[in-house]
Amino acid sequence: MSAAPRPPLVGTPVPRKEDPDILRGQARYTFDIELPDMLHVAVYRSPAAHARIRGVDLSKALALPGVVTGLTGAQVRRLGYVNPLSPFPFQSRDPFRRGNPTIKFFDHYCLAWDKVRFVGEPVAAVVATDRYIAEDALDLIEVELDPLPPVVDSAAALEPGSERLYEDWDDNVMLTFRVSGGDVDAAFKEADVIVRETIHSGRFTGTPIETRAVVADYDASVKTLSLWSTTQIGHAIGTLVENTIALPGLKVHVNFRRIGGGYGQKWAFYPEEILVPLLSILTNRPMKWVETRREHMTGTIHAREQTHHIEAAVRRDGTILGVKDRIVANIGAAYPTGGLASIVTTGMFVPGAYRIANYEGQVQGVVTNKTPYGAHRGFGKSEACFVIERMVDRIAANLDLDPVELRRRNFVPPDAFPYRSVTGPRYDSGRYEEALDKALGLLDVDHWRAAQREAAAEGRYLGIGTCLVIEPSSSTRMGSYNAGYYSVRMRMDPNGKVYVFPGGSDEGQGHATSISQLVGDELQVSFDDVMVVEGDSLACPYGSGSYSSRFSVVGTTAVTLAARALREKATQIASVMLRHPPGGLVFAGGQVSVEGRPAEAVSLSEIARVAYFYPFQLPEGMDPGLETLYHFRDPNIEFEADERGRVAMFSSFPYDAEAAVVEVEADTGLLKILKFVSVHDCGNMLNPLIVRGQHVGALAHGFGGALYEELPYSKEGQPMAATFKDYFLPTAMEMPEMVLEHIETPNPFTPGGFKGAGETGTVGPPAVLANAVEDALKPLGIAVRRLPLTPQYLWSLIQEAQGGR
């Protein structure tokens, strides 16, 4: 028996243990759940953007054979025990102590009751014995609507005489937030040049291939509601359901074991998470609802739509002295999604990777008759980075400086970390200039500048763009469900297997694999002997969910420290068993042995059996069992903003330096990516295979939002992209050839040194491609001010510059 420690699992590209079940078709998602006597729910959704509900008549639908029951908003309110949807992500309707942010709410229920406020809003539900009949019944529902003027554009919504979505509000502004630092006025007085721009991020969203689904099974005999939901916030959903369905004695068990992709869209509290349980309670039968893609495109949150009115005060040498940004987000209807938190986040991170000492951000979340606004991978930071990275290039153009040089001049330098940003967050670590240099080296700038000159001689437009984006990860938020800690329960069972119960959930990130690597190393058990049970609200400790790349930061730390606690206890037990002081014991190879005397050893299973079955052998005062509950509180965050709105709301700061070469075809506006380079730093890499996968996947979202994906509305408030026929997800053909490199600057605040890995990729492509397009079209003097960079947009820019040739 060798007691030598085996090579570490952490840091190696271990293939995932989740994969074989999925690849054999054995994995079960919410969609796949079948329960005896289960009924099927279909939801009637508003066809109008804005209208008063005069009546909802289900009688014809209920008369259809196979239809069991139905429900309207008016009926829900009459039940007496159903509250308005609880205001996720906030704890209460009064979450902020200093009156900044300001926020308004509305009594939305799981079905619309007074007005409809966006196309896709749930209005009524029907329940049938199968889904085909349920859909037939939808066609028989009669809804009488009095049309109201639609409010679609956020600027129009802010005008004093605008139609209001919520009559008891005095305007259409749901949230305001101000954050500032330094002396902005002085900076603007001191400036040589002031650069002003209006920059717009387009509305798009994450569209997991698994649409949302809810299964509810209420057992009246024990007042227990078993709920399956495709959610990133399973524990919170349990609480929110309890808040909303006020039945005394109701027990709620939420299952969220296998989720088919989230990307933020499943980080929200959705009406169906009340509607489907309610229907199960009313009928005492299991109930299943699976969202159609058309429902998804309007009934599941959108993201990103923001307009920035930004001004920068700069010195002639390119030093950015100060920035002011007025941010208007078009947030759709006021449902309990994470949208408000994301726009506050934007206000915090406009300074990006730059040492900007004077800053003022003003944020307004404006309600409109569009789908509610929420989280999407890159959560508010993508919009902030797009704006500041665009601004850097605009400033460079104004000053006739090289944008790369301008970046260098303003970067937070490596010796300034941990760096307290002007808005409060403490940037953990970074080597921005080094990463950018590496990216430029990999791009081969000289070669492409020569190619650009050749192209120009032929009348073709070739351009080079750069960016350096940060993607603050692992967040906390004032007054929200998101409290900046992570809990893990861990048990070594009598056979020496380790069961891990994390407080989060997995939407495809490979938590079971990562946890097995961490625990395998800490407890010296085999990868296969680590059993991860995740996504069960009664088996696992409470957790705020899976979002903000927090597993990599606080999740891994909680796992590591929980394993160390178990290891400590196992060592103490071994010490008694081996009659040797703990200090002289070696914990390796699945056993504990006396240093230098490998024959004197006890296996982990032997130790565990003593812990469970021979408590009288345990050291004085030690509890039986080998199980621990560990909570890790993030040390690099704060909970309360100061008087100027400053707060450290994210704890780790991965970043990506990107460089790209594009060619724009003048007659069609088509954009071709000729080369793309990313140099990504997410701290130490727990599993390089997974990190690369996360980064490439995130880049695909970035390319999507930069070039293809858009959720436009007509002026009547009708969504123009309501299926995958009109919403252009990138396919394999749209992914460019990429050169990807990683550098590793550890996170100094956690034992593993990891940072979030899965979101940075979404942030860069819009910025780097817009910058490259502007460089390509420089001969025409064009400024790029919006996303996405569709062929038509680029074509129209060129047409305008050429005087509508």
Binding site: L670, P730, E734, T790
Partner: protein
């Protein structure tokens, strides 16, 4: 999303199918590969009371050259993949091979049929403009036999053709262009597998001096139906294919286009794309005429 309920029959023969069509009149729909019809039924944009499955009819998927008539005959049930892989088509009608490769995706191409796609008459369909540029003809079989309709007059409106309620497409006759002929089909897509933003089919016959003796030009996704750009064809015919000629023809192409605005672009933009694709297609056809190997099809 699921189709509304309907009755279903399997047609045993063309006559049987027509008999069923007659019995069920306008409520009936023919199902071949289903790659166009089933999606429309799922969205409940089409709600037939009766579906007649012709997908298993024998003898309707052959592709063969009829040298005497100077045409290639293609059965209505030939799939896009079959057309794409056909040696006869590649040798005689390379424009069709090019078009077959850009339709939908592998799954659609394997099951969707030429006849089904033409009968659906999606304004953004690929076969319409290709058939029009090649001056193909559609065999429409009804109770009184076969009538042959020029592709140029087959389409009436969006999703509407000259087919009567009791007629079905049984085949296509595509004239084989002369030896000195070359063409290109170009389809601009927002992303792979999507419908066209706009598409242009060009087939040019050139004499030894480089003069255009015959031109076929047609546009897809440029209006409610495929559009045969007759004025553009006339502008090219009898002329050397030089800058000014193509410029004049491109003007005619853009005049012929009357595209609908949607998420793929405004009407003006799509019209400009038609012009740009036409330029590229002519250039490509000329290069092919000179013996160059050029990749056509997708523009994205």
């Amino acid at each position: 999303m699921y189709p509304a309920a309907f009755d279903y029959s399997v047609a045993e023969s063309v006559d049987h199918a027509i008999d069923l069509l007659q019995r069920h009149e306008e409520g009936a729909k023919l199902l071949s590969g289903g790659q166009s019809l089933v999606p429309l039924m799922k969205l409940r944009l089409v709600q037939p009371t009766h579906v007649i499955d012709i997908g298993r009819l024998g003898g309707l998927s052959d592709v063969r050259e009829d040298a005497t008539a100077g045409v290639v005959r293609i059965g209505a049930l030939a799939t896009h993949a079959q057309v794409g892989a056909s040696t006869v088509v590649r040798e005689k009608l390379p424009l069709m091979t090019e078009a077959a490769g850009v339709i939908g995706d592998a799954q659609v191409r394997g099951w969707g049929t030429l006849g089904g796609a033409l009968a659906e008459a999606d304004p953004a369909g690929d076969w319409g403009p290709v058939m029009q540029a090649l001056e193909g003809r559609v065999e429409c079989t009804g109770p009184s036999g076969i009538r042959v309709v020029e592709a140029a007059s087959f389409f009436v409106d969006a999703y509407t053709t000259v087919l009567a309620d009791d007629e079905m497409i049984t085949g296509l006759q595509v004239p084989v262009p002369s030896k000195g002929s070359a063409g290109a089909y170009l389809k601009m897509e927002r992303r792979a597998g999507d419908f066209a933003v706009a598409s242009v089919a060009v087939q040019l016959e050139l004499d030894g001096a480089g003069n255009c003796t015959k031109a076929g030009v047609a546009l897809g996704a440029a209006g409610l139906t495929p559009i045969k750009a007759v004025a553009a064809e006339e502008a090219l015919r009898g002329q050397p294919v030089a800058q000014e000629t193509v410029e004049a023809a491109a003007e005619r192409v853009m005049e012929a286009a009357n595209p609908l605005a949607d998420v793929r672009g405004s009407s003006d933009y799509k019209r400009a794309v038609c012009g740009a694709l036409f330029w590229k297609a002519v250039d490509m056809a000329l290069r092919r005429h000179r013996g160059e190997t050029v990749k056509g099809g997708h523009v994205r």
